[in-house]
Symmetry: C2
Subunit: 351 residues, 2 copies
């Protein structure tokens, strides 16, 4: 079980260090090796996704990433920006399935802009296709027509692309509450009519999962109206971009949200949903829980270690119940701790 | 000032009647004529948008619509469904600008799933382009490629299409708080890069309006996080479909939301955002306020009667402050009334 660790920029190294401690405490036989990605990689090698990192990432079973980027790299040409490193590794490893949980721990319900009774205990998993759809479709561009500019992009999905993300979503639903909601706009878009048709075909392989369908505009409403109705949602790249961000904001605590991006052999890149927070980098105050929860996703989705994944997730629940909070989720009456102390608390809860 | 009144199906006739009473009480010289649209039109003529209605709608300056549809017409062939009447009249009149306010009156803040401090007093106007974008773009369909099906649709906007919806949005912002947020996905979609470019060009004509830009995934988040930051938002057909539905659900009281669809000469179709509610049709309990507020939008956008529009809107605020509520917005401690009594209350508040 080989893990490539990419601490990245900003708070990346601090939060990744805590997730590595957690993984090492589990008495599993992980081989871990660190490499550069993002701004630090540009500074050291001129390339945000250097060859040494490519080699390591390709050989590993899973990649644990902190975060990349910071203001000092914003003026670089586009191909040298830290974000290019992230796009580069996703493409290189063919990570087509993005898993974005939106979880709201009851202790943090106040952080949401929604009423506690609507969101406390929220636990949705959004499965977003990550390498197709209108974001990558051809033809695209701006052409001249009748003396004016006309902009165009192409939404496109093949049967096989839909099928492989569908299987990821059904299998994720099997590991959870066995409810899958596929989101499309089949009443208007033929491309998403095919999406729905293929989802219905695949469903025969998963008789234990209850498949439902929802139009994207209604899904955007239902996430606000009654988000707890959902277990797993699966949708294309663009709708998934919009809905996963909407869903994450329902929780009000982005510092808690992990993510995974998988290939077709369950090799995965695991990273927190939040950014590199350069403003608090190096201060030891960043919240490591999203990264620790990303490591738990790694245990579940790449290594199939469901029990160990649950152990880590329960340890996180326990430290929240015990009142430990980093600054981003602090409320009066709780115990404010730094990054390392939060890691200590999780390790203690695991012991 | 000629108004074509289309009561439609379900609760349509009841709620439209109250809006007509309100319009007639203003001592303006309206000519009103009624016609058939939707299921009732199919029953009477076999056509959901009959020729007599077409003639009247084309001659009128504005159209006031109740709602169309009901279960008794669901089994008809697609071209005879009541909804076809609505699509038909929108297309026939070339109504490219859809105006969807999301307003939450402080008295109704409890109806929202969001915390009162986040949404009380919310007043957003979403301007959605209604006749272009991926919903209408060519080419489209499902083709065979390498032995499998491939679904595709085309997002497309010409400069002139963007310009005309832009002007509507800037002018709407001038009538409000002079802040316009244009929503796109320019970092990934060339079509929406053109959208942003054209919005920036038009902005020169409106130096009194502050233009900002937001990516659609961030907009979906910000509507949940801090919806009161917005005044007017403008976006394409698909993003507008998703965001206007999300925004309407922030209010929790769809029975209060009007809408307008305009052509390039400010001729408009005005209708509540809610449906025909066949389950309560004819009972005299439906909420007529969204239709009355739609009539207020007609005064503002088609007839330029800002003062009269405000009079009607203030009358609605007053009846809410007085505690009048139809069943859909009723809470303990308020005064539950029927459709006609609510109309009476608005007329009294106007007097
Ligand atoms: Mg996004
Ligand atoms: Mg819609």
């Amino acid at each position: 079980m080989k893990i490539c660790v990419l601490p990245g920029d900003g708070i990346g190294p601090e939060i990744t260090a805590q997730a590595v401690r957690v993984l090492n405490s589990l008495d599993l036989k992980f081989e871990m090796e660190e490499a550069l990605l993002g701004g630090g990689a540009v500074d050291a090698t001129g390339n945000p996704y250097p060859e040494a990192t490519q080699k390591l990432a390709r050989e590993a079973d899973a990649v644990l990433l902190g975060a990349v980027g910071g203001p000092q790299w914003d003026s670089l040409p586009r191909e040298k920006r830290p974000e290019r490193g992230l796009l580069g590794i996703r493409k290189d490893l063919n990570l087509f399935a993005n898993l974005r949980p939106a979880i709201l721990y009851p202790e943090l319900a106040n952080a949401s802009t929604l009423k506690p009774e609507v969101v406390a205990g929220l636990d949705i998993l959004i499965v977003r296709e990550l390498t197709g759809d209108i974001y990558f479709g051809q033809p695209r561009g701006v052409r001249e027509e009748n003396g004016e500019r006309v902009g165009f992009n192409t939404m496109v999905y093949s049967e096989s692309e839909i099928r492989r993300i569908g299987h990821v979503a059904f299998q994720a639903a099997q590991k959870r509450n066995k409810k899958l909601c596929s989101v499309d706009k089949m009443n208007v878009l033929e491309c998403t009519q095919l999406w729905r048709d293929v989802m219905i075909e695949i469903a025969h392989d998963y008789p234990d999962v209850e498949l439902s369908h929802m139009l994207v505009d209604n899904a955007a409403m239902q996430l606000v109206k009654a988000p707890k109705q959902f277990d797993v949602m699966v949708t294309g790249n663009m709708f998934g971009d919009i809905l996963s961000d909407e869903a994450s904001m329902l929780t009000g605590s982005i510092g808690m949200l992990p993510s995974a991006s998988l290939d077709d052999k369950n090799k995965g890149l695991y990273e927190p949903s939040h950014g590199s927070a350069p403003d608090i980098a190096g201060l030891g105050v960043a919240n490591p829980l999203a990264t620790i929860l990303s490591a738990a996703m790694m245990l579940r989705y790449t290594f199939g270690l469901e029990e160990q994944a649950l152990r880590v997730e329960n340890a996180v629940k326990k430290v929240l119940a015990q009142g430990y909070r980093t600054g981003d989720i602090y409320e009066r009456g709780t115990n404010k701790v730094g990054t390392r102390e939060m890691g200590d608390a999780v390790l203690a809860a695991l012991a």
